[in-house]
Symmetry: C2
């Protein structure tokens, strides 16, 4: 109720926009990666900056997949190309390699007024879309890619939300069900909340390296059909937070399932360049679909996502990404382009960064040597840190960590004693949140509780990144170990 | 109805996502600025590129407020700062001024790992938020601005949609009504469609230079209350497409109205640096609110928007912008930050560009001279083109153009003979769409029909930008004149 009379009588005027009147879908949204524990970590950081004392001298932010923030260096060639695009006067500088200038010229020629400051067409700069298609064809060993199916996006998150927005409709029992892996990257649950869709969980198999089990997909789908209309399945491969790299067989099973049940497939492949385990390999959903034959390849509706934020470039701040759209109804595609046009276009610097990623220095180019060195160094370090993290965590009593086959995270299972579980419940919080808050307060290490990603009832986890420098990571893991042992002691009554 | 059986029997498999199953809110969205006529212009461009012949040699795209695409040059200093941020190795280059290096260093110090490739905090880099607050205080001659009320956005469009998303809720007669000016920039109608809110039109007064009439606001509000819950009023000042710059008195009346009716105010001020008429001045909604006294300044909920895309920098492709949030309920603010966090952060290059705009070279700095020259040149040219456009169009029989007081567009009223109106109706299109299509086909000039922005029934307009070079603009206006005269002849039966 709002009075329409003025309030110059001195009474307190009610605000129009309050928690009560706020869009309820917004209230429902949660995003743990930047949620309460990260806010707390920020408060502690400020406290330390202002001279406060804690049992530690710095907060280690291992909550977010931001490589540069943890000291990873940008790829020189990428920054040279983007700098040339930003300030073309640099084309006259002898300090910039010809390889970079050539690419920058190509990009700028595709821009209005040859400027990064022009809007591009809403799907992105045409020559960049073509470069991406060429990259996909080469990555997938010849599977054809049509540049008109490629859309540049403002990070992968933007593309994922746009596609979900097309798919989600209906009320009550006809509401769109969106199948997502548990554990998942909470962009998906946040989007589902905001769009008032139905979240349909399928549980990854922790005892089997977080593999996707087709029987679990069937179970989940059948159960969901009772109360909603499951229409889309989301897969993250390599996985976030789990780090598992799916086998080709598993991907085939998912695609076959999607074909049988007429599900729209969204494959989040932003970690495709982050595969560490020697016995694992990235298989694109598109390539596997192709190899299943034309009846599948010409019918399953699939959108695959990539980003500039991960891989070996770690360019999160550029907000670059693309999606490739397979077998989308042409009328729906026109609607997609219309929806994209309202936001005009993705940031041009991010589009340029994406172009360099799909069109990097080749062996015959002068810039290849340094590029290859930098790329190998980053990926080698990540692989080393993946292995180290798994090893150290598995040596801690009460922690079990599946192999970090890919991506940028470890998602170890932590044993939380019943006394701690009860204390958490009494405090109205999730047990792994209590754990992570205590870890933060005692060691300064910020990780995200597994409850923020989803997990089987009665199990607890946390997600940490493997991004800190090797030295810092060792320190971090040592502190986690000591904390966990202490935590177990404290709550098992063995004092 | 979807069969759950496989279709390996050779029958055509139905797609999951079709126009029928698509989110109906997406279907409802229209965005004329990149709509059907622009698509047609693109087709003609490709036809010309492939060697086809038309009565003209090039398409002139006067449909979108993209300055660089029409030949405007970037501000050198801005590009220097962003290039330095992108490739900090350039800090060692003597070709870059110290003023630019200082700003770049400041920005990078505010970035994770001192890299533009890190995510920033979701509201934006702290020092940039502070710089924006300082700019606002200086612009508004001392009215205090709190940096914690400033949020960087991915262009203004992103901020506008985010705020609307907070505000829009309810079903049936409790649906949120959003008051928007007619004519309007169709981001607003698109957002309202997509969010299933109710569009509440208030008509600007064409006979009075497109001024806002408070009586019309009252009329519109009272009529809307019958079928929805009007909760927010959007104002664009300087106006798009109208180019009117609102008087201080008018802004006061709007704010008083919002206070009385408990409306949330959204003021789109992206053209605040584009004021040409010597008798006009930009008054920020915030400053006017402040001058109305504490009972208003401490209670009216107001969000003001700015962008890097317009002004004198024209950096559309960077997708930079900010919003300042006044008197927002603190619990709602926390919800806003949560919503922003799902998209992580706005692009860092855009944030850096915004920083330069609010923290440009000062008179005592070496770089001031060239900066001031470039800025004056751009704004002087725009002012000249505004005047020229108004003058030439007003000299055409059957065209009446209000003064282009600000922004980047002319929105002339065009007389369309009844015969043409009938022909358009028979073809199932708006009369001004027919007009603009004919204009495009005969002259290659692409402008946007007034029906895409909204107009009083029975009136017709088109929106053109004043961005082409002065020479091209003269050619364009001459062709429009000749076309219009011919069009009048053709449809008035005087052959």
């Amino acid at each position: 109720f709002r009075s329409s009379a003025g309030r110059l009588d001195g009474k307190l005027r009610e605000k129009t926009l309050t928690l009560d009147t706020l869009n309820p879908q917004v209230k429902a949204v949660e995003y743990a990666v930047r949620g309460p524990i990260v806010i707390k970590a920020g408060e502690i950081e400020r406290y330390l900056e202002e001279g406060g004392t804690k049992p530690f001298s710095e907060v280690i932010k291992a909550n977010i997949g931001d490589a540069h923030a943890m000291g990873q260096k940008p790829i020189t060639f990428l920054r040279q190309v983007v700098a040339l695009c930003t300030f073309p006067e640099l084309m006259d500088s002898p300090s910039f390699p010809e390889d970079a200038k050539r690419r920058a010229r190509r990009i700028l020629q595709g821009c209005g007024g040859h400027s990064l400051g022009s809007y591009s067409a809403s799907p992105g700069v045409e020559c960049i879309r073509k470069d991406i298609a060429a990259y996909i064809e080469q990555r997938d060993e010849g599977v054809p890619s049509d540049w008109e199916n490629i859309y540049l996006t403002t990070g992968a998150s933007d593309g994922i939300m746009t596609i979900l927005r097309l798919l989600v409709s209906g009320k009550d029992s006809s509401r769109t069900g969106v199948m997502i892996p548990i554990p998942q990257y909470p962009l998906y649950s946040a989007a589902i909340s905001e769009m008032d869709a139905v979240q349909v969980n399928y549980y990854l198999d922790e005892d089997n390296c977080w593999a996707l089990d087709i029987n679990e997909l069937h179970r989940s789908y059948q159960a969901a059909k009772q109360h909603c209309q499951p229409r889309v399945i989301c897969i993250i491969n390599p996985g976030n937070p789990t780090g598992q790299v799916q086998s080709k067989k598993c991907i085939e099973e998912v695609l076959h399932f999607a074909y049988e049940e007429n599900l729209f497939v969204m494959s989040d492949e932003v970690y495709q360049d982050n595969v560490y385990a020697p016995d694992c390999q990235f298989h694109s959903f598109k390539k596997v679909l192709y190899e299943m034959g034309p009846e599948y390849f010409n019918s399953v509706e699939l959108v695959s996502f990539h980003s500039t934020s991960k891989g070996y470039t770690g360019e999160c701040g550029f907000r670059g990404g693309y999606m490739e759209v397979i077998n989308m109804d042409p009328e729906v595609k026109a609607q997609l382009v219309k929806l994209l046009s309202v936001r005009l276009c993705p940031p041009l610097a991010g589009q340029a960064a994406m172009d360099v990623i799909v069109n990097p220095p080749q062996p015959e180019e002068h810039t290849f040597k340094q590029f290859h060195q930098e790329k190998s160094s980053v990926l080698g370090a990540l692989a080393e840190k993946a292995k180290l993290t798994e090893k150290i965590l598995n040596a801690v009593p009460g922690i079990k960590c599946n192999p970090v086959q890919g991506a940028m995270y470890a998602f170890p299972r932590i044993f939380i004693p019943p006394k701690a579980v009860e204390e958490a419940k009494a405090l109205g919080m999730q047990p792994d949140m209590l754990y992570c808050l205590r870890l933060l307060e005692e060691t300064g290490i910020c990780v995200v509780p597994g409850s923020g990603f989803g997990q089987k009832d009665g199990t607890y986890h946390f997600r940490m990144t493997i991004l800190p420098s090797i030295e810092k990571l060792k320190v971090l893991l040592g502190k986690v170990r000591d904390f966990h042992i202490g935590f177990l002691k404290e709550y098992s009554g063995l004092e």
